[in-house]
């Protein structure tokens, strides 16, 4: 059950452009077809197919008992999902937007994440909690939060987020197949991102918990995930022309924040000697702190410069007309790369990041 990712029969690959939203929908469909215990429910997931249409067609195909519109109550959704998992089902629930998962926080922290531990394995929680997250879509207040820091700080949860169409499928299948609760963060602004992808021969992902190097490079490592992956790749392209002699940046897509793939990250940073962590969520007490601290613990003597962070500001997510100032963009990432002490000169009495822009990233 736990590893029941369908192995599709070999067939000639038909790779057509698909969006991340379509790949996610296909993952749900295939998981439901493979396992009658998979139940999808949440607000507007049935008849409407979800506000992002990720569950479109599931109620029609599997009936309203397998894909169910619930009353409007997030704690109720997560709490009933706990009970359904207790009875052996594998609930896949949708929180309509990141900020609207907060009413269910107690159920998530006090039960979803702890039930397996509480019952010494007697009552696992094979549950997937889909949360559209992040900004950049012109959403009004409460529609663009990046709430991953809360989930990462909650032992017992896995936290996963795709950045590509193929990973959207593979990771969601892996999440649903996992016998543990997985908070599955869907980058809103990548729902419409496209790639050539064959739904009949989806690439498998190596389970939950493995990072992937999206771009090889030697000068420095950009460590990122979800919506910031394409931005970092773009920055890496830009970096070739930037700087005195151009930088060749490695880009790591974490894919899984919990478990955290230390091996892949440390191996890269030991090679490059420099690293920048990039994410949308506020920097202070955000994912980047953990990642930077962990890299530093493991790679201290390989580091030519402190690990820097480029993150959202430490503010509530801005209104649509100002959000472009908040989101980490190519320029801000390249600025950080430029501050990675390429001259290798040790400045007496002034720590790195001491300067004007020091505290910000």
């Amino acid at each position: 059950m736990s590893t029941a990712v369908r192995q599709p029969a070999a067939a000639p690959a038909v790779r057509k452009p698909a969006t991340m939203g379509q790949a996610l929908r296909r993952a749900l469909r295939d998981a439901m077809a493979d396992d009658p215990d998979v139940h999808v429910f949440g607000e507007d997931v049935g008849t409407l197919g979800g506000v992002f249409r990720v569950t479109d067609g599931l109620a029609a195909e599997f009936g309203p008992d397998r894909c169910t519109d619930t009353p409007l109550a997030e704690a109720g959704i997560l709490g009933t999902a706990v009970g359904m998992a207790m009875y052996g089902l594998r609930p896949v629930v949708e929180m309509q937007f990141d900020a609207f998962a907060y009413p269910g926080f107690e159920q998530l922290v006090s039960h979803v994440s702890r039930m397996r531990n509480r019952t010494r394995g007697g009552m696992p929680m094979p549950m997937t909690i889909r949360v559209p997250y992040g900004g950049g879509i012109g959403g009004v207040e409460h529609h663009s939060d990046s709430s991953e820091a809360y989930y990462m700080a909650t032992p017992g949860l896995h936290v996963v987020t795709p950045a590509t169409v193929a990973d959207a499928y593979g990771l969601l299948r892996a999440a649903i197949a996992s016998d543990d609760p997985v908070v599955f963060l869907e980058p809103k602004r990548l729902y419409w991102s496209k790639a050539d992808w064959d739904p009949e021969q989806p690439e498998p992902v190596p389970g939950v918990g493995r990072a992937v190097v999206r771009r090889r490079g030697s000068s420095a490592t950009l460590i990122t995930y979800g919506p910031s992956v394409p931005v970092c790749l773009e920055a890496a392209e830009g970096a070739r022309e930037d700087g005195a002699e151009g930088w060749d940046l490695e880009v790591i897509d974490l894919r899984s924040l919990v478990p955290f793939d230390e091996e892949t990250v440390a191996a890269s940073v030991r090679r490059t000697g420099r690293a920048v962590v990039v994410h949308e969520s506020p920097g202070f007490a955000g994912p980047g702190g953990e990642i930077a601290a962990r890299i530093t613990e493991r790679c201290f003597h390989y580091l030519e410069a402190p690990v820097l962070r480029v993150a959202g500001f430490d503010i509530p997510y801005p209104p649509p007309m100002l959000e472009q100032h908040h989101l980490p963009g190519v320029d801000r990432i390249l600025d950080a790369v430029a501050r990675l002490q390429w001259e290798s000169g040790f400045t007496e009495h002034v720590g790195v990041g001491e300067g004007r822009r020091g505290g910000a990233v």
């Binding site: 607000e43 507007d44 049935g46 008849t47 409407l48 197919g49 506000v51 519109d69 619930t70 009353p71 409007l72 109550a73 704690a75 109720g76 900020a99 609207f100 907060y102 009413p103 012109g138 959403g139 009004v140 207040e141 409460h142 529609h143 202070f284 500001f313 430490d314 503010i315 509530p316 801005p318 209104p319 649509p320 007309m321 100002l322 100032h325 908040h326 320029d331 801000r332 600025d335 004007r356 822009r357 020091g358 505290g359 910000a360 990233v361």
Partner: protein, 380 residues
């Protein structure tokens, strides 16, 4: 000690602390929604609605209808990020605004732009959230209208707390909190109503039951006889009213607010209405409901109901109708014009109000952004 040693006779008595705390019967709603418009005046409990009120309500719903149309048009013109229209619910919106006294407070949800506008607020300021220049655009303490609230039902405990605070301070203030049928399923709805009843806070809850929470129909939201039946479970009266009947809604709210102000405690009002348009401009309502259902509701249109009442009472002629519509048109034109101007935007505002004093970290971040913007200017 064994139970044998227990003293006392075997008295067939009820459990000692059992006393019904209130009489349940008066808290229960009537079987049918209360209506005024179209009912023979002999059948009515209350006095004939006064002509001045009818005229004010009429002018406001005509304006409200036009306002909803204009706001929806602004989404197509890229001037609003999103607009949740209250078309079909104008009677509730307008009655809510007009039932309030100067010192009372309104707690609107994201759909209640019109209620704020009908209260006299600047529509451009009210639309700030939905335009996206800021999260909130008007002066809440000065207007006594709380910010339009997006997380469902979370504004309800705010209304209770404010009403309770006002009462503690000895002020004769009532709060009117608006929520949807879907919002009534949230835990915050429950907790707010319970606090209100225990504290006997001067607050009135108006549930605009428009039949849907986005795509989810009421039957999937609740199995209750009516949402107004929830009142008795908190010890407050539940009232059911035809939400397309502006006069009825106004009357019921005025009564509840007066009771609240005089220390009589909270009331739950369910207004049965309908959202004639999609959830927002981004929604596709054809996915979840039929045209015939919408048509049936169009025949019960709040603007038409009111117009006919006025006409039948000789309070409205062709000329007055035209005047009302011209006034609405003029306001819409002014709104359109103002909304076509780009709002002033200052990125420094991102850091200015997170705390009373920005932290050192925020000051650094504000400096960083300023420097970036300056650098951007230079290279341009």
């Amino acid at each position: 000690m064994t139970v044998l040693e227990q003293p006392g006779a075997y008295a067939p008595a009820p459990p000692p602390s059992w006393r019904p705390r209130t009489d349940a019967a008066p808290l229960l709603p009537d079987a049918e929604p209360y209506r005024v418009l179209g009912t023979p005046s002999g059948d009515r409990e209350a006095a004939e609605p006064d002509a001045g009120l009818l005229r004010r309500l009429y002018a406001a719903v005509v304006h409200g209808r036009r306002f909803n149309e204009q706001a929806t048009a602004l989404t197509r013109q890229g001037r609003l990020a999103v607009y949740p229209s209250s078309r079909g619910q104008e009677a509730c919106q307008v009655a809510a605004a007009l039932a309030l006294r100067e010192q009372d407070w309104l707690f609107p949800s994201y759909r209640d732009t019109l209620a704020a506008v009908a209260r006299g607020l600047d529509p451009v300021e009210v639309l700030s959230l939905l335009r996206g220049d800021w999260h909130h655009g008007y002066d809440s303490p000065a207007t006594r209208v709380a910010p339009l609230c997006t997380p469902l039902a979370t504004q309800l405990p705010h209304a209770v707390g404010l009403a309770h605070a006002a009462r503690l301070k000895g002020d004769e203030v009532a709060a009117l909190a608006l929520v949807g049928d879907g919002g009534s399923s949230e835990g915050d709805f429950h907790e707010a109503l319970n606090f209100a009843a225990v504290w006997q806070a001067p607050v009135v809850f108006l549930v605009q039951n428009n039949g849907f929470a986005i795509s989810v129909p009421l039957a999937k939201q609740t199995a209750a006889p009516s949402l107004a039946h929830k009142g008795v479970g908190y010890g407050m009266p539940g009232r059911l009213v035809d939400g397309n009947d502006a006069v009825a809604v106004h009357e019921v709210l005025c009564e509840a607010l007066a009771r609240a102000r005089s220390g009589g405690g909270p009331t739950l009002v369910e207004a049965v209405t309908y959202r004639l348009e999609a959830h927002t401009n981004a929604d596709d309502a054809t996915r979840y409901r039929t045209d015939s259902e919408v048509e049936a509701w169009r025949a019960h249109d709040p603007v038409t109901l009111l117009e006919r009442e006025l006409r039948s009472r000789g309070l409205l002629d062709e000329k007055a109708v035209q005047e009302a519509e011209e006034a609405a048109e003029e306001q819409a034109a002014r709104l359109r014009e103002r909304m076509h101007q780009d709002p002033p935007l200052d990125p420094a505002q991102l850091f200015a109000h997170v705390y009373a004093e920005p932290t050192p970290q925020l000051r650094d971040q504000a400096d960083q952004l300023r420097a970036e913007l300056a650098a951007g200017e230079e290279t341009r």
